[in-house]
Subunit: 475 residues, 2 copies
């Protein structure tokens, strides 16, 4: 992307002053107040101006009746003015020197109504005429922790390696909020809606060159310029891992996408081919997208498809084998030599010394667990180690055992020099959720990937390993 184009978008992520145009005055509980609340709570350092023809005051800030009355310069506007006023609004903003407007407002072409579609045409025409760049309409805009710009009060304050482009604002919120608990942090997140001006390819090109972004994720419903998108996606995928979730592949999903962001979604096979050819990692649900991001951040190089698995529970050890093989991973049989080595300090009753190793009886003998894990890690038929823990199995007062169990696994895996993935299986029940989230946070900080189901872990590790294999083949 030309340096000048990069600079234009980079400036969007680092606005010097923001005006909120159309901010609700009489109804402080209106949901679009999220922009003011978020910018204040995230401590946006630049000037923040409120604009509404009614004037008045909100949260201690004066409300200007028109953007022209704002005293200082403004480069970025978050606008919730009605669709019919959008074009005129652009003219006023341009006169004030505004370079970019994020139109949060919905009610354009996505409604399927010709009058509303006309507002969108007029909006675009005005933007071109006045040289103003537009994000949206019908979207949540920008989240950029390093510049304290956010559209949700609860989003993390700290930055991370993932740049996320989401056509849907709701899905952007879901991914960032879930990511908060999964150890995923974001360099930038863009909810871009109807994409009349700046589109998925523009942001993709930007993130491809953005030094703060190591991994790119995209939720996309449809594209306007297929050739441009393929080119951008291929370039991006050559530079960094790109994870893609395509919404609207079914008949009803397609209809919904048309109503949501006014796009013509296309056939599922086309997207399969686009991902294969470009080298992007395709996912099929938000949950899978999150699991793949966890893997790319914490287990980017499993080293192969062969897992050595250890944890408590014979039934779990049976199911993990089934699930891993279903997703194309392998659990090679444990050779007699390693069975004997582990058997030297592990009783045969109630443990299963195969692969998976069911370490039910000795799971709280932490030295033994660490040594058994070390032996699995040093085994040359294993590429990575999977340790599972089962919060449900224990009474609440026994949850304290989970940390030393994972510590023992980690110690064993590290001294055997193999990566470790930890699975909370099956999931975590509500009564243990906060306690387990604390435990997860501690281990994520140590660089350990945490998954909440065998299925999620297997699918994501397999997807990332497939991506590694394709890259090795090309290289």
């Amino acid at each position: 992307m030309p340096a000048s184009d990069f600079a234009v978008i980079d400036r969007i992520f680092h606005p010097r002053a923001i005006a909120l145009a159309g901010i609700p005055i009489s109804d402080p509980g209106h949901w679009t107040r999220t922009f003011l609340n978020s910018l204040m709570e995230h401590k946006f350092p630049g000037p923040l101006y409120l604009v509404n023809p009614r004037g008045g005051e909100a949260k201690g800030l004066k409300v200007y009746r028109n953007i022209s009355e704002v005293p200082g310069t403004v480069d970025y506007v978050i606008s919730t003015v009605p669709p019919r006023l959008a074009a005129a609004h652009i003219a006023e903003c341009a006169a004030k020197g505004v370079t970019t407007i994020h139109f949060c407002t919905a009610g354009f072409s996505e409604t399927g109504d010709p009058d509303h579609a006309r507002y969108e045409d007029e909006l675009l025409k005005a933007a071109r005429q006045y040289g103003v760049r537009v994000i949206g309409p019908n979207c949540m805009g920008i989240y950029c922790p390093e510049s304290h710009v956010s559209f949700h009060t609860e989003f993390p304050r700290e930055s991370g390696p993932v740049g996320f482009i989401s056509q849907s604002g709701g899905n952007a919120i879901d991914v960032v909020m879930s990511g908060r608990w999964r150890g995923i942090r974001f360099s930038k997140t863009i909810s871009y809606g109807n994409a009349v001006d700046l589109d998925e390819s523009d942001f993709l090109d930007y993130l491809t060159e953005d030094a703060q972004t190591r991994i790119i994720a995209i939720y996309i419903e449809g594209i306007r310029d297929g050739r441009k998108f393929r080119r951008s996606l291929t370039r991006a995928s050559h530079a960094k891992p790109v994870v893609l979730l395509k919404g609207g592949v079914s008949e009803s999903g397609n209809r919904a996408a048309a109503g949501h962001t006014a796009v013509l979604a296309s056939n599922d096979h086309v997207w399969e081919a686009v991902c294969r050819q470009s080298g992007a990692i395709r996912t099929y649900s938000l949950e899978e997208l999150l699991d793949v991001l966890v893997t790319l951040i914490y287990l980017p190089h499993p080293g192969g498809r062969r897992a050595a698995v250890i944890g408590p529970g014979g039934g779990s050890s049976v199911l993990v084998g089934d699930v891993f093989e279903r997703h194309g991973l392998e659990l090679p049989p444990l050779p007699p030599s390693i069975r004997e080595s582990i058997g030297r300090f592990t009783p045969i009753e109630g443990n299963i010394l195969r692969n998976p190793v069911d370490y039910s009886q000795n799971i709280v003998e932490f030295d033994k667990l660490a040594e058994a894990t070390r032996l699995l890690a040093r085994w040359n038929e294993s590429d990575f180690i999977v340790g599972y823990v089962r919060p449900n199995l224990a009474a609440p007062h026994l949850l304290g055992r989970i940390t030393p169990i994972i510590n023992a696994m980690l110690q064993g895996a590290r001294s055997g020099k193999k990566p470790l993935a930890v699975v909370f299986q099956p999931g975590v029940l509500p009564n243990a959720a906060l306690q387990m989230a604390d435990i997860a946070e501690k281990f994520l900080a140590e660089g350990l990937p945490i998954y909440y189901s065998f299925d999620g872990a297997a699918r994501a590790i397999s997807a990332v390993q497939s991506w590694n294999e394709r890259r090795e083949k090309v290289a």
Copy 2:
């Protein structure tokens, strides 16, 4: 099943007095203390005797050195004596008049060790010789809330419609504990392990006739007598819905199953055919098993495959269509007449009046939401309604809106006389887990099925509907 056989097993679920043989004395934290703790905390009303050659006292109860010293009669023994003493132990128990022994002890044929396998042969021989019935070895035994018998302190005290047969003790715990939060309660749960005497078919026959059991679930790793099992499964499936999870269908899962419960697991295709021919509902993970149970309890007759969906979030509305169609459900397009009816009181901006109906902008206008849902429910192209809510979207102080939103959907669906399923999508984050569990509990009590992902809901509803269709075809 002959009445006499039914009576034998029924007595196991209603023991008059229980002895715990081999109870650990010196280590009160030993995990097998769970039997004593659970029976006491569940207030088992009959006499409870402790037996260990060391004698002494535990939890205020005298420990007898031998079962022969126990003063009263004992019909049921939970035994953790070592494998090499098992056969002799049976003889002693028989002399005392014991009719059933649950051998929790592991270390028999599942170890693959010839000496340990011999202990199992001797155990079975003694059981036959003395006419004592055996559950196990290598299992957790019986949970029966109505008779206050449990092997986990945290299991629910109240009974429910599901009879669960699980070869694995750990998976039994996972299902009952997860079921506790999903609104699933159990008439009986049996963890039966190596099944040397009483096996899956015996318990299946029993549950088929048990009036307290409306739905049967089975987790099975392998069977000893295939013909007997097919017959029992077919009979059971004709009487009640039977949900089956087969563990050990992969190479490594098979190996693990052999090490876990000493079975020869068989080929996946065989199990596919067994389920199809018998009429059982096959599932592929614990999570799916739970979702199908929720459906059978709360949404047993969706009435067809056509869903009408409503909730907040355009991105969600796109993904729900994709996921539902992937699992063989349908979302028919909303006819203009209903779009117009809903449009009369719903602005076009920020809502999508298709199917799914994205009710983002008006989700907290509860009267409108109820009326929109009612119109969807009265639509003759819809068989059932799916309402989704998104706890992640809201700041924590807004979670209070979830209950009135679901109430409005419920009111609308009921006045339109269609069943409603509610999905928390995407999942629930740890900070909201307990609050959302409370909300779920309230609605489960009103008979509303709650799911934690679109994928889980779609897969389970489709599985149950397929089962309904097969039954209609046969009938």
